[in-house]
């Protein structure tokens, strides 16, 4: 994903801001990392440049 995507994304659970954590980046794309919501303590993975914001399974 591109860093600019972070500006429009919200946590799907609480609509709060997401924090980007980068593990691998290059050519303007984040390859591996996470989008983390501190309020919900939920981490959404970024794998092969694709952020996964599918809904978390309810406990």
């Amino acid at each position: 994903m591109k860093r600019s995507l972070l500006e429009i994304l919200a946590c799907p659970v609480c609509k709060g801001k997401l924090e980007l954590n980068v593990e691998a980046e290059g050519g303007g794309e984040i390859f591996v990392g996470t989008l983390y919501c501190d309020r919900c303590d939920i981490s959404y993975p970024i794998t092969d440049t694709v952020p996964n914001l599918m809904p978390p399974e309810s406990d």
Binding site: L9, A10, N21, D41, V50, N52, M54, P55, E57
Partner: protein
């Protein structure tokens, strides 16, 4: 946030996420995408052409909910897309779309983020069409539009796909087709006003051989219907807009 807290949370929550991120389209992604180059190439071209006249009037930025493999997004110039299928999202990204994994019912974006939201042959595959349309309304700017590309239940193509669904077809068994009246009602319930309707694909299933010109309006015998709708303006917003327009008008009349 401490890194320890983050890592612990990440490991725990990631395990939870993995159990729900599967889409039935993951198993069918290659077959689905190949249709656009083979049997569906002319149909796809006819449908893309029908959108073309609408595009210049649609405010940006654009989002496609249910972007699939990015075929329509690429052809129409849609920048961003979401889809539950990781395999389709990867295909869309290879076509240059800023796509990611998510569902249309989820609140993934801030309010008023987009100018136009497209749902192209998507409403029939979502769990809750009304929730998706309401969410589209929320993430649209006040002057935002939705553009729906639909195979309607009453059309020859809708009946053709319904029969396939009834026979347990691998794609269409997941689809629920809606009539024109049902879609118009859903659009209104979600806070939109229908502005334009375009119909195309009048050739019947198995008989598509020629390019077609789209027609404006609703035709029950059209295989593909496009509905463009704008956000309903609330009474207060409308009064404010009128007040501003009146004031601007007065100023120009007075030469001030």
């Amino acid at each position: 946030m401490s890194s320890t807290k983050y890592l612990a949370g990440a490991a725990r929550k990631r395990a939870r996420l993995n159990s729900v991120d599967f889409s039935p389209f993951d198993d069918l992604a290659s077959e689905y995408d190949a249709w656009f180059d083979k049997d569906g190439s002319l149909i796809f071209f006819i449908e893309v052409q029908a959108f073309k006249a609408l595009l210049p009037a649609l405010p940006r930025p654009w989002l496609e909910i249910g972007v699939g493999s990015g075929r329509f997004a690429q052809a129409l110039g849609i920048e961003t897309g979401i889809d539950p299928s990781i395999k389709l999202v990867k295909m869309a990204r290879r076509r240059g779309i800023n796509a990611f994994q998510g569902r249309g019912e989820q609140e993934l974006f801030d309010e008023g983020t987009f100018g136009t939201v497209f749902l192209i042959v998507t409403l029939c595959f979502v769990d809750s069409p009304l929730d998706v349309l309401k969410e589209a309304n929320r993430i649209l700017a006040p002057s935002g539009k939705i553009v729906l590309g639909l195979v309607l239940k009453e059309s020859p193509w809708g009946q053709f796909y319904q029969q396939k669904k009834d026979e347990g077809h691998r794609f269409y068994k997941f689809a629920t087709f809606y009539s024109y009246d049902e879609v118009v009602r859903l659009i209104a319930q979600a806070g939109f006003v229908t502005e334009k309707i375009i119909s195309t694909l009048f050739q019947r299933p198995g008989e598509v051989q020629n390019m077609e010109e789209p027609r404006e309006g609703y035709f029950p015998d059209a295989g593909f219907t496009i509905i463009a709708a704008g956000k309903k303006v609330s009474a207060i917003e409308s009064m404010t807009k009128d007040y501003r327009q009146d004031n601007n008008h007065d100023c120009s009349d007075n030469g001030t």
